[in-house]
Structure formats: structure tokens, C-alpha cells
């Protein structure tokens, strides 16, 4: 009942917009669409034309220099989600744009509003993507409001032979902006959605941000005479977004189901587990995931038919699991690749061209 109502909203929204030929419904914009390259002509669109909610549009107008980072953050999140789930039954495929939808449909379909583990991952990875791209912009000197972490410009450990230098990533600004851009709109949502879903989304956004902060590391470079480490400069840097994606995927695999009857504080669904604390970087979900094996047009689930699988693998990408026991088809594909490459002085690489045939398996 609740789910049906939730599903109806996007359709109603699109219908309304189409009928009235107006801009997208005021508060239903989804910023994640900015990460899709084929979406409109993003470089030419102003804040008012983008799929943002009203508060996000206002923030966009006040800080237009952040628009490239927001777009890049969305792209990072979507790309990493696809990468982490590319061999799973749910493979994080995004909806394709159509003119009638006017980018108000949920980018991830059912998964974005379902309160499942998949919802948790999407919120976390998108929030992390935004932190990551904004912080990169700060370090690259693209912003006036932020830059390198200036508290680490001097100091270090002369006795150990190193000192702070270079450009340390200042993740705090990115965290602040991510909260402002993503969390405030959620907090200010009217009572249409369940309170527990809102709390869940806020928590998972923060879990994504905490992943970026937690995985900060120290990079060093030796630049003494003849490459010696007598002189060494160190800086703090964010991990690659792939590493952050792995971290969150692991959290997804160990995510925690919370009770849907939460009042003031979120608590675990299983009563016997309620004494175990919920950590800031845990991913939380309310509802169990649907069956991703078979197509469900109502929920926008494509099923695994036609997916490429690995015949020899026993893991998630193996044909047995991915095809849900339905079996697979095999066909032969011819590849032409460079092989036996050698560098010839000076200066080119010479390769032979090799042809090979491989079996490709797809789910029935």
C-alpha cells in the first residue's frame, strides 16, 4: 500500500508536468541525473533548469562554481555503483531518459525509495561521490571558499626526517557542503514519506561521508639529493574512489535492518540484537530486497535474463547464481587484440595482432 503510493508519485509528477508543459514539479527534482552524460546539454543549463529541488537550486545559484563538482560527484557515485555491482543480480542500472519523464523519475527506479539495502548503498555512494569531487576541486584550486588543508602547511617531524607540504586534501569543506546539499532537503521534506525512511537516508548519507574521511591516508615523496629520503614531504590525501566503493560495498554486505516502527531513535529490527550499537558508518535498511531474478515491470526490475555470466565461477557472477538456476546460452566471439608488444628504441611500440575466439555465456 505504502509502496504503491510511493511508486505512483513519480508517475503523477511526470504526468502533471507533461499535461501542463511546465518545469519539473517543484520539489521532486533528483540531482543524481547530473551524473548521466546523455542528460540534456548540462553545460548550457542554468540552476533553474537542472533536476534539483528548490533548496538545491537556491544553493546552486549562490555557489554556481560548485556545479561542475556536483555533476562530477553524481557521475562518480553512479559509475562506482555500477562497478561494484556489475556482476550482481542487482547491477545498479539506471533508468534511461525520455522526454516525457522530464528527469523527474527516480534515476535508480524502485531502489531509490524502497528502503532496501540497495537504497542504503545508493545514498551512501552518492553522498561520498559529492564529498570526493568537491574536495578534489578544493585541492585543485578551483574554489575560492576552500583550498588545501592549511593546518598542514607547516610542521611535521624533523627528527624522523619528514614534514608536511604539498597539498593535503581538506575533506571538511566537502563534508559540510554534502550535508548542506543533500541532508537539508531530506530533513525539510513534508510528511509524505515515512519518518523512518527519512532517518535511514540521512544516516546512510552520513555513512558515505564517513567512509571518505575514514579512508584518508598519508602520501609521501622523497626528494633529497639523488632521490634519498633525507628530505621527505608528506600530505594527506583521499583514497581513490574505487577504494571507497569497496569499503561501502563491504558495509552493504553487512548492512543492518532496522525496525520500521522507530519513534525517536533508530534501532535494530531483531530484538535480541538491540543492545549492539549502530555505528556511524554502518549502512541501514528497513525493507527486504525484492527478487531481482525475474523481470518486474511494475518495480522497474529487468531481471537477469541476457546478462553475461562466468561459467567457471562459483561466486555471484557465476552462471548458477546470476541466472538463478535457469541455465545459460553460449555463443562464440572473435577477438582481435595486440599481443607480443615490444618497445623499439627509439621510440615506438611494435605489437603483433592476435586473433582469439572465446565463449560468452548469457543467462536464459
Amino acid at each position: 500500500m505504502d509502496r504503491a503510493a510511493l511508486l505512483a508519485l513519480p508517475s503523477l509528477c511526470a504526468l502533471w508536468a507533461a499535461v501542463l508543459s511546465l518545469l519539473p514539479c517543484g520539489t521532486q527534482g533528483n540531482w543524481m541525473w547530473l551524473g548521466i552524460a546523455s542528460f540534456g546539454v548540462p553545460e548550457k543549463l542554468g540552476c533553474a533548469d537542472l533536476p534539483l529541488n528548490s533548496r538545491q537550486k537556491e544553493l546552486c545559484k549562490r555557489k554556481p562554481y560548485l556545479l561542475p563538482s556536483i555533476r562530477e560527484g553524481a557521475r562518480l557515485g553512479i559509475q562506482e555503483c555500477r562497478s561494484q555491482f556489475r556482476h550482481e543480480r542487482w547491477n545498479c542500472m539506471v533508468a534511461t531518459t525520455t522526454s516525457t519523464q522530464l528527469a523527474t523519475a527516480p534515476l535508480f527506479g524502485y531502489e531509490l525509495s524502497s528502503g532496501t539495502k540497495e537504497t542504503a548503498f545508493i545514498y551512501a555512494i552518492m553522498a561520498a561521490g559529492l564529498v570526493h569531487s568537491v574536495t578534489r576541486s578544493c585541492s585543485a584550486g578551483n574554489m575560492t571558499e576552500c583550498s588545501c588543508d592549511t593546518t598542514l602547511q607547516n610542521g611535521g617531524s624533523p627528527s624522523e626526517g619528514w614534514h608536511w607540504g604539498g597539498c593535503s586534501d581538506d575533506v571538511q569543506y566537502g563534508m559540510w557542503f554534502s550535508r548542506k546539499f543533500l541532508d537539508l532537503p531530506i530533513r525539510n521534506t513534508t510528511g509524505k514519506e515515512s519518518r523512518v525512511l527519512l532517518a535511514m537516508n540521512l544516516h546512510n548519507n552520513e555513512a558515505g561521508r564517513q567512509a571518505v574521511a575514514k579512508l584518508m591516508s598519508v602520501d609521501c615523496r622523497c626528494h633529497g639529493v639523488s632521490g634519498s629520503c633525507a628530505v621527505k614531504t608528506c600530505w594527506k590525501t583521499m583514497s581513490s574512489f574505487e577504494k571507497i566503493g569497496h569499503f561501502l560495498k563491504d558495509k552493504y554486505e553487512n548492512s543492518i535492518q532496522i525496525s520500521d516502527k522507530t519513534k525517536r531513535k533508530m534501532r535494530r529490527r531483531e530484538k535480541d540484537q538491540r543492545q549492539t550499537p549502530i555505528l556511524k558508518d554502518d549502512l541501514l535498511y528497513v525493507h527486504k530486497s525484492p527478487n531481482y531474478c525475474v523481470e518486474n515491470k511494475k518495480l522497474g526490475i529487468p531481471g537477469t535474463q541476457g546478462r553475461e555470466c562466468n561459467r567457471t565461477s562459483g561466486g555471484a557472477d557465476g552462471c548458477n547464481l546470476l541466472c538463478c538456476g535457469r541455465g545459460y546460452n553460449t555463443h562464440v566471439v572473435r577477438h582481435v587484440e595486440r599481443c607480443e608488444c615490444k618497445f623499439i628504441w627509439c621510440c615506438y611500440v611494435r605489437c603483433r595482432r592476435c586473433e582469439s575466439m572465446t565463449d560468452v555465456h548469457t543467462c536464459k
Binding site: G227, G306, H335, V336, R350
Partner: protein
């Protein structure tokens, strides 16, 4: 059932070109076996050290990048394979390797070093061959030790490819022609009297003195050099009160010849560096005002600026 992919290449463009080439050649009935990837002014797939640093680009090797400007190609990728992000940084770090190059410890030294400091512009990064690294290291580290240096972490050989595409000038099986010279000259004494080379040494050394030598004697496998009179040109780590009691060491040089020290009756240009509590000689020249090259060096020294670490990395 299902759509098969007929080719898989490195990137769509390369794949397309490859297919077109294959089709054309097959149609002509004279299929060549080889593909060539030559100079690339547009570099796409490099992943430099910090993954979001400025994008790699192909730039001219400047004349004043002395380590590499005559290596055999004219353009390099920046940032390089040692994660140096600016040309100033490349120059600063490369300058201390130029004196080693002049020692001719291995014929592949320059090719090896420049494959990292000034990597050739191709569609992907190509590292030096592991065997080349090992050959250069094994031949050159003994020379480096005369100056108090050891093979640095950043050039550790086990990080370079073995069977993959890699850079080397000569085939792997070439036997290195060893030169049995009986006794080799002490490396700090094996110098070319060229103003350019002396300047490079000056920049790579921590201190430089004009001095007269009182005596030379052996001590713990080193040659100990006791000065008589000294005038600093570049003090570096030497404190003024230490200057009075300064004693220099020719590291591991007890038994190798140093022809400059055969005659102690004139002034010397001495360069060195401090290692722990010892002052090591890195280069020695007779102070010869009549020599054209030496005179040229003195003139150039007055306004020459060595690349400095501080200005590069702030």
C-alpha cells in the same frame, strides 16, 4: 543468440583504427603481422601518481634538463613516472643525477634514468626493464657509495616489469663488456674539466671550498685530506666554527688513484657533502685560472642559480 563483440581493443578509437587497418590489409591481400604505436601528442590513459592530479601532457624536453635533453627523443610526459608534477621539480630532482651520468658507470644509465624522469610520449606509460634497472644499479651503486649515496627507494628494481613491454636500449642477452683497468680512479677524482660539468657538480654538492692541502693520509679505508688554507664558496651544512677544524674524507678511497692529489703545491676547488659527521669529497679540481674551462666556470658561478627544493615544492 545475443550480440557478439567482434573486437576488443584498448579504447574505442584504437579498436576502430585497428579493425579498419586489419580490414584494409586483408582486402589488399597482403596482411602485415605488426601494429605500430608511435609518438603520441595526445595522451589519454596515463594514470599519474595522485589519481586526480593535473592531466598528463606531452611537453618538449627543455635544454636545461641536462640529464635527458640528449637522450634520443625530444618530448616527454609530465607528470613523469616519478610523480614529479612540474618541470621545475623534474629539473631539481634530476640535477643530482647528472654527475653520476658523467661517471659512465653503465652504458644504459641515461636511458634508464630518463625513462622515469622524462618518459617517452606513448599511449600508455612504459617503464624501464627490470634487467636494465638491475644492471645499472649493480654497476653504479658502488660508484654512488663513494659519495655516500645508496640506491634510492624510488628506483627499486622489483617494481619494474620483467616480461611486459619495457624500455631498454640493448637486447637483454648482451654481455656487458667489462673494462679491466687494473685500478680504477677514485670517482670523485674522475672528472671532466668542463665548466658545465663543474657547475652540475656544484649544484649536486652541499658545500664548495677553495683550499690548499697540507697532507693526505689513509684512515679506515678512506683517504683523509687535511686542509691548510680554505675559503668557502658555498658553506651549506658547514658551520663557521667547524670550518677551522675541517677535515675531508675521500670515501673508500684509500687505495684508488687520484691524480689531482699527486701535487699538493697549488690551490684546489673542493666540493663535498656531509654524511653523518663526516665531510665527504664529491669532486676535486685544480684551481687553474689559466685554464679556459675553469675560468668560464668561475664566471658562470657568480650568477648561476641551482634549482632549489624550496621553490619547487611549496
Amino acid at each position: 543468440m545475443g550480440v557478439g563483440r567482434s573486437a576488443r581493443g584498448r579504447g574505442g578509437a584504437a579498436s576502430g583504427v585497428l579493425l579498419a587497418l586489419a580490414a584494409a590489409l586483408l582486402a589488399a591481400g597482403s596482411a602485415s603481422e605488426y601494429d605500430y604505436v608511435s609518438f603520441q601528442s595526445d595522451i589519454g590513459s596515463y594514470q599519474s601518481g595522485r589519481f586526480y592530479t593535473k592531466p598528463p601532457q606531452c611537453v618538449d624536453i627543455p635544454v636545461d634538463l641536462r640529464l635527458c635533453h640528449n637522450v634520443g627523443y625530444k618530448k616527454m610526459v609530465l607528470p613523469n613516472l616519478l610523480e614529479h608534477e612540474t618541470m621545475a621539480e623534474v629539473k631539481q630532482q634530476a640535477s643530482s643525477w647528472v654527475p653520476l651520468l658523467n661517471k659512465n658507470c653503465h652504458m644504459g644509465t641515461q636511458v634508464f634514468l630518463c625513462s622515469l624522469f622524462a618518459p617517452v610520449c606513448l599511449d600508455r606509460p612504459i617503464y624501464p626493464c627490470r634487467w636494465l634497472c638491475e644492471a645499472v644499479r649493480d654497476s653504479c651503486e658502488p660508484v654512488m657509495q663513494f659519495f655516500g649515496f645508496y640506491w634510492p627507494e624510488m628506483l627499486k628494481c622489483d617494481k619494474f616489469p620483467e616480461g611486459d613491454v619495457c624500455i631498454a636500449m640493448t637486447p637483454p642477452n648482451t654481455t656487458e663488456a667489462s673494462k679491466p683497468q687494473g685500478t680504477t680512479v677514485c670517482p670523485p677524482c674522475d672528472n671532466e674539466l668542463k665548466s658545465e660539468a663543474i657547475i652540475e657538480h656544484l649544484c649536486a654538492s652541499e658545500f664548495a671550498l677553495r683550499m690548499k692541502i697540507k697532507e693526505v693520509k689513509k684512515e679506515n679505508g678512506d683517504k683523509k685530506i687535511v686542509p691548510k688554507k680554505k675559503k668557502p664558496l658555498k658553506l651549506g651544512p658547514i658551520k663557521k666554527k667547524e670550518l677551522k677544524r675541517l677535515v675531508l674524507f675521500l670515501k673508500n678511497g684509500a687505495d684508488c688513484p687520484c691524480h689531482q692529489l699527486d701535487n699538493l703545491s697549488h690551490n684546489f676547488l673542493i666540493m663535498g657533502r656531509k654524511v653523518k659527521s663526516q665531510y665527504l669529497l664529491t669532486a676535486i679540481h685544480k684551481w687553474d685560472k689559466k685554464n679556459k674551462e675553469f675560468k668560464n666556470f668561475m664566471k658562470r658561478m657568480k650568477n648561476h642559480e641551482c634549482p632549489t627544493f624550496q621553490s619547487v615544492f611549496k
